[in-house]
Symmetry: C2
Amino acid sequence: MRTVGFLGFGEAGSTMARGLRSAGMSGIVAYDVASEDSPLVRRRAAEAGVELLARPQDLCQRADLLVSAVVCTEAAAAASSVAPHLDARHAYLDINSVAPAVKRAIGVDLASRAVSYVDVAVMTNVTSDLTALPMLVAGPEASEVQSWFADVPLHVTVVSSTVGDASRIKMLRSLFVKGLEALCLEVMLAAYPNGVHERVLSSFEETFGAYSFPELVRHLIERHAVHGERRANELHEVANALREMGVEPMLAEAAYERASWDVRRGLQASFAGGEDPEWTEVLEVLCGLASEERP
Amino acid sequence: MRTVGFLGFGEAGSTMARGLRSAGMSGIVAYDVASEDSPLVRRRAAEAGVELLARPQDLCQRADLLVSAVVCTEAAAAASSVAPHLDARHAYLDINSVAPAVKRAIGVDLASRAVSYVDVAVMTNVTSDLTALPMLVAGPEASEVQSWFADVPLHVTVVSSTVGDASRIKMLRSLFVKGLEALCLEVMLAAYPNGVHERVLSSFEETFGAYSFPELVRHLIERHAVHGERRANELHEVANALREMGVEPMLAEAAYERASWDVRRGLQASFAGGEDPEWTEVLEVLCGLASEERP
């Protein structure tokens, strides 16, 4: 079994480390830039039975299977801090939530040092039950990831041999999750002071509670194709209503722009008078409109 | 029983008219600015057994219970077109999806003519089964709405005696529904050409499928309070990822601004180190930050 070293030991890294420990792995090490100043990092390491090391080069010497789990703004800097100390002996699993281009750039740099770089997308909140933690992996050595962890059972799915292909899926999932989070904030900034937060939620649930999320998405896209103009205009009213309530309509305005973008380009006309379309038919036309405008 | 007259006879008006007819109401009339040019409007009227009238004043003469159901951009113009012909004999139900201020302005104008103006919010897609069509009503005469329709059973809930209070709830519901619609468009503009649309949806469903919508909203707001900075930064990465894929990150950028707005003002610090907060505790702090900035 290889020796795992965490580069970054925050919530994600320490949770995974506990999972590896309880699956029988020992000798896990970690390096975190904040470890000297952060009692939290030191406590997490103690609780997970992980040895904290003082310098990036110590991590690279002791571990041959690095897991990068830093805050996403530090993914490239973290890789740079260890790169000079890595060679063909090392694999580098990059679980950070960063754009495909960031992972490709890190991958190119590390591949030039013969490091096996893997783009890993963690597809849910990190849990220490590693068998329940769906991970997508991409890169030339993606199919070897499970073997590197020997008999610790992971829930990995190989997406492709191209770095960035796992990250892309994760980014679009994140747009749904964190976009919805932001939408919740904007609705509630207006609803809560008026005492209507429960009422707004229960109305949504009353109409859409029977839909699964994929069904709801398909339904909304199909409705958009037929009634997009009316629905976009309603977002304009919503933005005005938010301003009345003293809330800056950041998402309402952006949603109006997004929903009226294709209306202005004739999406609705493509589906006028016919049967209600399937969502993939709508997406064909929608993505066609977008590709026409690319340089 | 009063005589119902639809001001605007599009999808919403004609669907409600069919519902009133099948509940036994007769003598329904309608006026639509487009009726001369639109075979669709005339066909809908014929199918619903509704007499189309030529002029706004004809509508006001024949009907004493007006239902305004135009496109939302025309709500004020539609009211102006009939206002000179209305008096104390008339009630005016405004079911349009417009901001509270728009309804208040119309309400003030019509009240000056002794018309009973009611702010009506239709809280789901309009269906001809009127007993299954939840409507919120607000205004001085809101509690009389059911009696105006005699023995046609409606699903009306009186919100308050203040015009705009129903509209406000509808606007915030619409921000959820149409904001989510726009989010779907942005995700799918990037996902579909890369063939990952099903994968993104199933990942979301895998993580959140067991949550009701209200549970999901509460969960996201509670997560935001504790991990808002990291989650907002991920939206910044998502925006970069969309640009890579040739999609303008309209919602990703707005969501980043919305989610980082309170992070920059210290929301997360309020919940550092403590128990995971309840969503209403988060909303108290969040709305407090917002009210501090209002002039």
